[in-house]
């Protein structure tokens, strides 16, 4: 494994059920306010809690009108926060339109458009208004972000279920190293849809209450939606991508390897890439979905790699599991932890599962945080671990 210098993070933002942008997320974390609510998405009548982003009712207009769908409304809303689009515009001035790569993670992209179109079938034809390429296919989110920001370089969608928008960091770093681009816009967007709500229900992985990571009585996920973006550049900055590691479980399509072998492999790879000792990790933002299997396997991985002292928590109790956007959302939360010295507690954990050995944060606190590890694991056994913080 080659050592690559840390990549600087020159702009970053996220929008989720906690609100729009970094301040809204920091405020919610400090105030102990979850974004989850017991409500119904669209026509879905399943009894569950969801992390819905408010204000997605307004269609995209102007040149972006052909791209209008829930996923891209969410993307556009997020791009408008924290001076992000303006930062990219300035970077365009530095690098040129064609030298900033776009790497977007998504699991379901605009699949909700297909769900709506199928309801409107006539004589087994989809409505003329349904635009698979611009509003529904996997790549559409990368193409939309590229179009919205006026970028003309390489662009790609990474779609590895719930690790998608963590893995974009590795792809972007390698692409910059290989010279395919000089800077990279990484991120991810996944929005609520019936496929994931009903799909996770069919696997009996959705809790009827707000998800309870690390709780002895945890019984599944709460689904959320989010968009997040990070601008990666070479050179020094206050915050950086320090390391990334990826692995495959090679075990099961929809269940983690019970001993956390693949998760530990990704975490070790990230530490090696960052040239960091396990003791130098100040906090781990867990994947922590609140399924029985995930939290148990991840705990084993964390304890085997970092020991049982490092403070850890899942922030899924705050945001819900935002699936393909979880990697970027939790990368942004991790950066907030560093920037503002926050250690968020494991929200909704009422009785800590005695089988878990890691140091799960039960009370939020403020403390200097320099380096955070953020874990993301997906269906198909796709694992990614990131280390973010001060270089």
């Amino acid at each position: 494994m080659t050592r690559s210098p840390p990549l600087s993070i020159s702009a970053w933002t996220a929008t989720s059920a906690l609100g729009r942008g970094r301040d809204a997320h920091a405020r919610a974390l400090i105030e102990g306010r979850s974004g989850l609510a017991q409500r119904q998405f669209e026509t879905c009548t399943l009894d569950c809690w969801i992390g819905e982003v408010a204000g997605l009712g307004e269609p995209l207009g102007g040149a972006l009108a052909p791209w209008d769908c829930r996923n891209h409304r969410l993307a556009q809303l997020a791009l408008a926060q924290d001076d992000f689009a303006a930062s990219v515009a300035r970077a365009r001035g530095r690098y040129g339109n064609s030298r900033i790569g776009v790497f977007m993670g998504t699991s379901t992209s605009g699949i909700h458009q297909a769900e709506l179109a199928y309801r409107q079938r006539e004589a087994n034809r989809l409505p003329a208004s349904f635009d698979h390429r611009r509003t529904s296919c996997t790549y559409s989110i990368a193409d939309f972000v590229r179009t919205s920001l006026g970028l003309e370089g390489t662009s790609v969608a990474i779609s590895t279920a719930c690790s998608s928008s963590a893995k974009v960091f590795g792809s972007a770093r390698r692409a910059m190293q290989a010279g395919f681009c000089d800077a990279a816009l990484v991120g991810g967007v996944d929005s609520l849809c019936l496929t994931t709500l009903h799909g996770f229900h069919s696997l009996q992985l959705v809790s009827r209450e707000a998800c309870r990571p690390a709780d002895a009585a945890r019984d599944g996920i709460s689904i959320g939606e989010a968009a997040g973006f990070v601008l990666l550049e070479r050179g020094a900055a206050e915050l950086a991508l320090l390391g990334d590691g990826e692995s495959s479980d090679a075990y099961h399509m929809s269940a983690p390897e019970p001993n956390g072998r693949g998760a530990a492999q990704a975490m070790c790879a990230a530490l090696r890439r960052a040239r960091l000792d396990p003791k130098q990790i100040d906090y781990v933002n867990l994947h922590g979905t609140a399924t029985r299997a995930n939290d148990a396997a991840e705990d084993k991985a964390v304890c085997s790699v970092l020991g049982a002292d490092t403070p850890v928590s899942s922030t899924k109790g705050w945001t819900g599991h935002t699936l393909g956007a979880a990697g970027i959302l939790e990368a942004v939360i991790s950066l907030l932890c560093v920037e503002r010295g926050l250690l968020p507690r494991s929200l909704n954990t009422r009785t800590l599962d005695p089988a878990l050995r890691a140091n799960v944060l039960r009370v939020s606190r403020t403390a200097p945080v320099d380096r955070v590890m953020s874990n993301s694991f997906g269906f198909g056994g796709s694992n990614c671990s990131l280390i973010l913080g001060r270089p």
Binding site: S171, T195, L203, S382
Partner: protein, 263 residues
């Protein structure tokens, strides 16, 4: 940037495996297949029950990978993989969207876990006990170029070898009208960073001026009709042992040029 091609796997209508395809594509006038369709392959990598339930996209990806495995000397279990597919399993999206349009809204759990874009990579990992990183990406009609970029970047990052698997299949009606992928195709390329005893070609990224096409009409139809089949000019050059500069259209309209030198 330079990489070395060590093994090829292929499955497409009229090109059932690389060994046959190499002979067919080396001919002056390669004979067109009797039928434009493709019987679903039966990759032995998958256990019988999964072979039965897996979507065609997964079967095509694993068949191509299995074909490459027959020739490679690289330990696939220790090799990172890049899976590249524009649309993966649209048959599953069709089934789930159809079910969700019914009042009962019953989604099959198997359909749901097969609906993820990285289903093929997941099955591959399990079948080949491959525990290294596996990325699954999409860039619409530029998916091949995006897959090659990711593969070259992984090699430049220090991976000794990378398996690139490209696959796409025709969607069912009514999605077909919106995304007319004409035929099923799977391509697997085992690439290494350094020349190894089994290297069959040297691939170098260069500037290209035009997108490569194929002179044989049925092969050109195949190339145009499936994002994975955009790899055929590269494979045709290899079959004919003809050193060429291949131009591939990337997702942003630019050209990715690959010089192939047969070894």
């Amino acid at each position: 940037m330079t990489a070395y091609l060590e093994a090829v796997g292929l499955v497409a209508p009229g090109l059932p495996a690389w060994e046959e395809a190499r002979t067919i594509m080396a001919m002056q006038h390669p004979p067109a297949p009797q039928s434009p369709g493709c019987t679903p392959p039966q990759p032995q990598l998958l256990p019988a029950n999964e072979r039965r339930r897996a979507p065609l996209s997964v079967l095509m990806a694993l068949q191509a990978a299995e074909d490459a495995m027959r020739r490679t000397s690289i330990a696939v279990a220790d090799t990172p993989a890049v899976f590249a597919s524009s649309d993966a399993a649209m048959a599953i999206i069709h089934r789930i969207s159809s079910a969700l349009a019914e009042p009962a809204r019953i989604v099959s759990p198997t359909d749901f876990h097969n609906s993820v874009h990285n289903a093929a990579a997941g099955y591959w990992g399990i079948a080949a006990r491959a525990t290294q990183s596996a990325t699954t990406l999409s860039a619409f009609d530029g998916t091949l170029a995006a897959g090659l970029r990711e593969t070259f970047a992984l090699l430049a990052d220090g991976a000794p070898a990378v398996l690139l698997v490209l696959y796409d299949v025709p969607p069912p009606v009514p999605l077909y009208e919106k995304r007319p992928i004409e035929t099923a195709c799977g391509v697997a390329l085992m690439l290494t960073g350094e020349r190894v005893p089994g290297s069959v070609a040297r691939l170098t990224l260069e500037e290209a001026r035009a997108e490569s096409t194929l002179t044989e009409p049925w092969l050109e139809t195949l190339r145009r009709g499936n994002p994975a089949a955009r790899a055929l000019p590269l494979l045709s050059a290899l079959a004919r042992r003809s050193d060429q500069l291949i131009g591939l259209r990337a997702e942003n309209g630019a050209l990715l040029g690959i010089r192939i030198q047969c070894l």
